[in-house]
């Protein structure tokens, strides 16, 4: 597993252009969702003397002032932007995952990077979309049931303060633990679909879930290690925000944005490293079919033209 993780990280490094593409895509979407906020704050703050206090410290009172004669318009715009862009990102997710798997899975590098990414994204979009719906439904049903179970078990922890906190903590951990299985199942189902070009999504998701449950320790540990990296990144960013002076000059603002984007770039890299790690785990541990009489090999035209899981196991340098 550690070899898989190491190679997963190496794959993310070698596929830096893939990381950059995903990062840029979502950065642009985020910028688009943020433009109305910038416009609002530009109008509210740029001509105001009081706004200069923001250059000394973070100040919620200024935001409150900006909202006072704005009704809920500004707040609605902010939340509306996040919700709208979030939905767009959710719908884009199957495409992005298809593209990522296509690029990571193409060891032969027959096609250009862009062709692999967009080809894979388009080719698998609707299948991955259906997988996502199955995942969503599963999480709602199983997550809800787990939450109810945890709530019912809460009295077991007693009515003391620590007991109550422990109950909440166990609830959260339990729900997250259970939901994580379904999330990982989504990843492994997608890997299976890409490798088998399967079109039966319910079966693929079931196979993914079965794989996760069969290799619970390996799949969870690999994910946990990579997710811990994301946690460290977040701590690092918050430390930067806490320990450095307020971005009061254009230079410091530029540095702040650069740090933020470095955070997002690395976070994207970690996600791609996890996907590559999971692909390797799948390839290593996937169920082997019983040996039967050899069937005739499929013709090349039957195999998705962009995909290949054959070839060298180690990542090769990007072709340009």
């Amino acid at each position: 597993m550690f070899t898989d993780i190491r190679r997963g990280f190496a794959a993310a490094v070698s596929h830096y252009r893939l990381v950059a593409l995903v990062w840029v895509s979502y950065a642009l979407l985020a910028v688009a969702a943020t433009v109305p906020a910038l416009s609002w704050w530009h109008g509210a703050l740029s001509g105001s003397m009081e706004a200069a206090t923001l250059l000394k410290r973070f100040n919620f009172a200024v935001l409150a002032d900006a909202l006072k004669y704005d009704g809920i318009g500004g707040f609605s715009m902010l939340t509306g932007g996040v919700v709208g862009a979030g939905l767009l990102a959710l719908f884009a997710s199957p495409f992005v995952m298809g593209g990522v798997l296509a690029v990571l899975g193409d060891k032969g590098r027959v096609h250009s990077f862009m062709a692999r990414y967009f080809g894979g994204g388009g080719y698998f979009y609707w299948r991955f979309f259906r997988l996502m719906l199955i995942f969503g439904a599963s999480v709602v049903v199983v997550g809800g049931a787990t939450t109810m179970l945890a709530a019912a078990a809460a009295p077991l922890f007693g009515e003391s303060e620590y007991g109550t906190y422990l109950g909440v903590f166990v609830d959260l951990v339990l729900v997250k633990f259970v939901c994580a299985a379904f999330f990982l199942a989504l990843d492994y189902a997608r890997i299976r679909v890409v490798q088998d070009d399967s079109r039966k999504m319910l079966r693929a998701y079931g196979a993914g879930l079965a794989f996760v449950l069969r290799h619970l320790l390996t799949t969870y540990a690999a994910a946990l290690i990579v997710v811990s990296g994301a946690g460290l990144l977040l701590v690092g960013y918050l430390a930067y925000e806490t320990l450095t002076p307020v971005a009061s000059t254009w230079g410091l603002i530029a540095v702040l944005i650069a740090v933020q984007q470095a955070f997002h770039f690395l976070r994207t890299g970690l996600r791609i490293a996890l996907i590559d790690t999971e692909t390797r785990i799948w390839e290593r541990l996937k169920p082997r079919p019983a040996v039967v009489e050899a069937a005739p090999a499929p013709s090349v035209s039957e195999i998705p033209h962009l995909l290949s899981s054959e070839g060298d196991d180690s990542p090769a340098p990007e072709s340009s």
């Binding site: 979030g86 992005v96 009515e159 003391s160 303060e161 603002i253």
Partner: protein, 692 residues
Amino acid sequence: MRRLVLALILAALAAVPALADRLPEQAAGVVEYDIKVRLDPASKQLHATERVTWKNPSSDTVGELWFHLYLNAFKNSQSTFVKESGGKLRGDAMTPDAWGWIDITSIRTTSGLHLAKQLVFERPDDGNPDDQTVVRLPLAEPVPPGGSITLDITFVAQLPKVFARTGYAGSFYLVGQWFPKLGVYEPAGMRGRETGGWNCHQFHANSEFYADFGSYHVEITTPASFVVGATGVRKTEKINGDGTTTYTYEQADVHDFAWTADPRYQVVRATFSASRDVTTAEYDQVAGLLGRSRAEVLLQDVEITVLLQPEHMPQAQRHVDAAKAGLKWFGLWYGRYPYRTLTVVDPAFGGGGAGGMEYPTFITAGTTAIFNRWPFDRVRAPEEVTVHEFGHQFWYAMVANNEFEEAWLDEGINSYSTGKVMERVYGANASLVEFLGIGMGEVDTLRMSNSPAARFNRVMARSWEYTPSGTYGFYAYQKPEIILRTLENHIGEQTMARVMRTFQERWRFRHPRSEDFFAVVNEVTGQDFAWYFDQVMRGTDVLDYEVGEVTSTPIRQPRGVFDDAKGRRTVNEEDAAKADREAEEKRTATFRSSVTVRRSGGVYFPVEVAFKFDGGPVERLTWDGRDRTKVFTFDRPGRLEWVDIDPDRKVLLDVNWLNNGRRRDPDNRPAMNWTARWLWFVQTVISTLGMI
């Protein structure tokens, strides 16, 4: 060595009463309570006897006594308290079927006359026939002027599950507002009364106290395993043969008595030392601020007892430090805390409704184990609630206003005082929160609470009259604090400190009303602030200054035909335009700048307006703010760079500071700074969802 010298000085001064000391030493006692109470943990009941003596302070012959029976507020869903609160108060809610009540089982005079059947429930505020929180006792023998009456009362009280101030939660008991308690007989002239009479309001959701000063002797019997704390000084502790212990507490010059019991309490003791916890420099600084001698600002030692829940022991020092901060700064600014003890109670988990309350020498704080460790230990909620409730020892316990009728007098003044202490101890921009690089101070929270929409209630209202009921918090706490801070910024810190000190000295152990505070302000400042208090205390409107139209253009050469001593002169367009161009090129042009400032709220307040012209210094002018608009016009060699109303942000009443100023050249950095943070958040959400 310096501390030793100071201690010696303090000891010497304490031995000789300071002639200049203007602080009253004790209250004129009107009541005496001698109560023996036994807690039955199984039934959550109190069984008690009470001997109460009332001295008629008036020149009236009084033929009846009025009592509060506060616990009946929790008797059923029809009480005024429950109806007003809807069963929810301060974030806590009533537990079904956990009612509370109090029954007077007997009441008799010392001559043996039984009066229980004479008791009549009264509803002076709302006429609610189901409310039983006030009872009237007609007397067979009226009490003559200056005379007194002693009654022996037996009562049983069922404690409710805590949701509002008093009751039980598990093994935790906070026993407040628990005994038949006399109202206040106000003689004619007192607090503006035209005729003498009882002031005894029903228990409302938003109101708490008004009572006469006196002395309390209370014997509390609980199971021996319970840790007990109470108002006053513990005099004796007697272990009984039946597995119970009886504690005796006494305190004079107070107007209420509360106690607590819980076997889980961890007891933390500390001493506030007037010589060690306050430096000579601090004594001198405050004496100078107040214009008093050092002897007048000297404090005295106080024994602090913190009764903490075991889960909160890591916060023990924080509670002690906050209590000491209160004893020090309230004492220095407003006069020494005259009692020997202070008990700080940390309510049990599930008993949060008992937190954040004040009783004489006895306060409840409130915290959570989450605040034990970094980074949440930088959330200063436990400190603030401790300082605030301690502050009530000055504004409620000693300066004892009628909280039913004028809650702002203690809650508002105390919020102002609390904010000053928190800022002094923890810093202005981080007095409440200092968390992951985000600081929040008192002024920030006040600004966030002050809204242009908050213009439908008066500060000076009876506490059950605010509409909706939830606005009580803003009008009784935050708005008075805003008003007092604005006043302080106007008259100066020193004058304000002397106002507050004088008010405390004059009204300590007495019952002031709003007009008494206003009178002290006028007296100390030498000005009549009726124009201010009429607007902000009795009025409902808000204050908002804003910059309107701003122009700044070069003054063009005059054109046309002019007659002067030399005869007629004609300046044509071409020559004038040329002169204009030359002036601009040589930078000798004069610019006419015009700024319209406006008042969009109904409240006015004198304010400075600052103007900055290119190459020139900042110019400040005063605007009385009375007119709705005012136009300032200047001819200066430079263009107007910016204008700012109230540049020092003294007028905290202003509901919006963002519209106070205008720049000629926009500064996009604040918008960009904020947008960058927002972008990070949005991008985090998007990339998380987009990589599922």
